[in-house]
């Protein structure tokens, strides 16, 4: 009974005899409690539990990287010797077969035959010393290494070949400042350029992004924030649509915008086709990123009493920002590089046109495609030049995505860390100033009222009883 009275006394200025029903008094109590929020835990717990406390293992540090995989690769001298021995034997034998034995020719055939012989020699050499499983291990290791090398080689060849062939057209400055309106099929490379295609690509991708980014992120938010059978259904459809053939996207816009609504082929129609193609890609990767946002962040926000909308706006989206940006940039790279939706919907032009709503337009991949269909060497050179410009654009977007992204949700870059620490320091300062101001007003009010401030341990005692 006495306990409840003291609690009441501290919290509400009830008309009790010992608490003066003064306004100034109430302010001090409330002010006091606010200034010292983390009150001491009840002191009676301390001595009894400290002796018998169970030693808990430290909680696993969730920010630490998972256990690293041990490297089990060891390069032994005998492996290296076998490798080069087999290689030398294979090349020598292939050369003998090609020049002396069989009527074979061509560098590609040479490499294929030499590689097959190399595997045979290598397996034989290993089997001289090692048992069956070890032989299989070494041969598969050689095979896997060479396949990966082949893949990287293919990438390098695709890029280098395009750049080398594009070097004919690229040094001409007019290539970037003119359109093809004045250039005939037989004109040299010093006439005509691809300005119209660059501008067309930029206009189309801008319109496509203006539509697909809000819609795509909204849809991804729907998939993660409003779960249910309907969201699952939408997710299934979207996932199936990620591999929608791009020409079907073009055909769809052609069927609706051009045939049904009667508009001409234009940059806007092409942008719509790119949007249809990009939308599932953006939604899918944004969905993945949003699902990675840690649940405890959202729950903390809910526990502080914020609504779902505030949580999405202030917690989920900022946390996933770098991942979402990466998703959008990679979707943009796909959208920029697609030819077939634009082929059906943009029409084709050799003239500069910056108006997406009227007249045909052309994009970089479409320009490449139309250039290389011509038999003229200068046109083909222009095609390769356009392809290089396109590749550089895609590469820039890709590097941008790597710079921004590549970080899990909630992980900050050094600069973001600094900014957040500065904001936190500013907050601390703000609190200190506010506390100071409140204390000084309170004490001045007290001085005016002529009442002693409440003694320091009164609120503490109160809360101790509450907890106990």
């Amino acid at each position: 009974m006495t306990e409840t009275t003291t609690t009441d006394e501290a919290h509400a200025p009830a008309p009790m005899p010992e608490a003066s029903a003064d306004v100034a008094d109430t302010t001090v109590v409330i002010g006091h409690v606010t200034v010292h929020p983390p009150l001491r835990p009840p002191s009676t717990f301390k001595p009894s539990t400290a002796a018998h406390r169970t030693k808990l293992p430290p909680p696993p540090d969730s920010t630490a990287a998972p256990e690293p995989r041990r490297s089990i690769g060891r390069l032994r001298l005998s492996d290296v010797i076998r490798l080069f021995g087999a290689l030398a034997a294979a090349v020598a034998l292939t050369w003998w077969i090609f020049t002396q034995l069989l009527p074979l020719e061509g560098p590609l055939g040479f490499i294929v035959v030499a590689y097959g012989l190399f595997l045979v020699f290598f397996a034989t050499l290993v089997s001289l010393d090692d048992s069956g499983p070890a032989v299989r291990d070494r041969v598969m290791s050689a095979l896997v290494h060479s396949i990966a090398a082949l893949m990287l080689l293919a990438l390098a060849v695709v890029i280098i070949f395009t750049v080398v062939r594009g070097l004919d057209a690229l040094p001409h400055l007019n290539f970037f400042t003119q359109d093809m309106g004045a250039a005939g099929p037989l004109d040299p490379l010093s006439v005509g350029g691809i300005l119209h295609a660059v501008v067309g690509t930029l206009i189309m991708i801008t319109i496509a992004l203006l539509i697909s980014v809000p819609l795509g992120i909204l849809c991804a938010l729907f998939l993660t924030e409003v779960p249910g059978a309907y969201a699952r259904f939408v997710r299934t459809i979207v996932e199936a649509m990620t591999a929608l053939p791009s020409i079907v996207a073009g055909l769809f816009i052609y069927a609706t915008v051009v045939l049904l609504l009667g508009f001409d082929r234009s940059g806007f129609a092409a942008a719509l086709a790119i949007t249809v193609m990009m939308l599932p890609i953006i939604i899918r990767s944004a969905d993945v990123v949003l699902r990675l946002v840690p649940g405890n962040l959202k729950e903390a926000s809910f526990a502080l009493g914020s609504s779902q909308w505030r949580t999405v706006w202030n917690v989920t989206l900022p946390t996933a920002r770098s991942g979402l940006t990466t998703a959008i940039i990679l979707g943009t790279a796909r959208g920029i590089g697609e030819t077939s939706p634009v082929l059906l919907t943009a029409g084709m032009t050799t003239y500069f046109n910056a108006n997406p709503f009227s007249g045909p337009m052309i994009s970089l991949p479409l320009a490449t495609f139309s250039f290389v269909r011509s038999p003229e060497p200068t046109m083909i050179a222009r095609g390769f030049g356009t392809a290089v410009v396109l590749m550089v654009l895609v590469l820039l977007l890709f590097i941008l995505a790597r710079v921004i992204g590549g970080r899990g949700p909630g992980r900050l870059s050094p600069r973001q860390h600094r900014r957040r620490a500065a904001a936190s320091r500013a907050d601390v300062q703000r609190y200190a100033i506010r506390r100071h101001a409140r204390l000084s007003t309170a004490s001045s009010a007290l001085a005016a009222g002529g009442v002693d401030p409440v003694s320091d341990d009164e609120p503490r005692r109160t809360t101790g009883e509450e907890n106990g």
């Binding site: 062939r165 591999a243 991949p365 290389v372």
Partner: protein, 336 residues
Amino acid sequence: MTALPEVRTADQDAPRSLAARPAGADRTFRGIARGGGTGVLLIMTLVGGFLLYQGYRALETRGFEFVTTEAWDPNSGEFGIAAVMAGTFFIALTAITIAIPLSIGTALYISEYAPPGIQRSLIALVDLMAAIPSVVYGLWGLFLLQPVILPLSQWIATYFGWIPILSVSDFDPQDPLASPTVFTSSTFIAGIVVALMISPIASSIMREVFSQAPLGEREGALALGSTRWGMIRAVVFPFGMGGMIGGMMLGLGRALGETIAVYLIISPVFVIQPRVLEKGANSISALIALRYSEASAFEMSALMAAGLALFLVTLVVNFGASMVIARSRSGAGAEG
């Protein structure tokens, strides 16, 4: 008599529902989000719906013969997708046959063999390869690969010509003056180019799944004395099987729909031509790109119907792929 509260045992005690009725701004937010989802769903359904609507005229005229006719001559009423659909599959299957070892090997290398220091760069390179526009691959195939690959085609046709799909009808291995032009513009060359385009996508899905194979099982296999390859066969492959199949099917979906690279390389024929090394191939997307510009209204309808067929086929393949990935033990992290 005192009324005792009903005693609940542990299995009766169901968790109470904590769902709160959203109010105010939340309801608006949920409504807008739901609207966004519905809008996207609508667009995606409209793609199929409009293709059907526009292609219905052609489908109605031809009926079931649309699927069985090889020729494509809509203006005389004799047309069907048998040849182009078969050609699409021939190119896609050739591509998949080449892409399977390529992508599995690359994925294995990155997840199992590569030094940890260069793994991230390798992943970035493979992703970059997936981002290269298809028209660039087409240029590469047309101008660089085709001249280089002809002797290999000739060699295969000479020594493996007894296998029906590798035979070439107008090619006599005994004739030293035989022109290699019968090997140009073939399904084989288009397949190689498409294989290079789909391998990075398939391989990045596989790599993701391989690297999730549990560490304990890996080290258990190694501790039992297995070699690295033995560990891969015993732990990594069984664990990643779903991801491997799913990745390949996603790649197949991409291969079926590839347009520009195929269009640049093949020379279209309208018969079912399963001899992959021989000149002449076709695919639905290349047919649409080839014919749309000077199509009459009726041919446009026929092209829409062909597009619808391609759309349905890729949809089925993709559904299959996502189902396989989702069902596999490792599917949780396989996001392509």
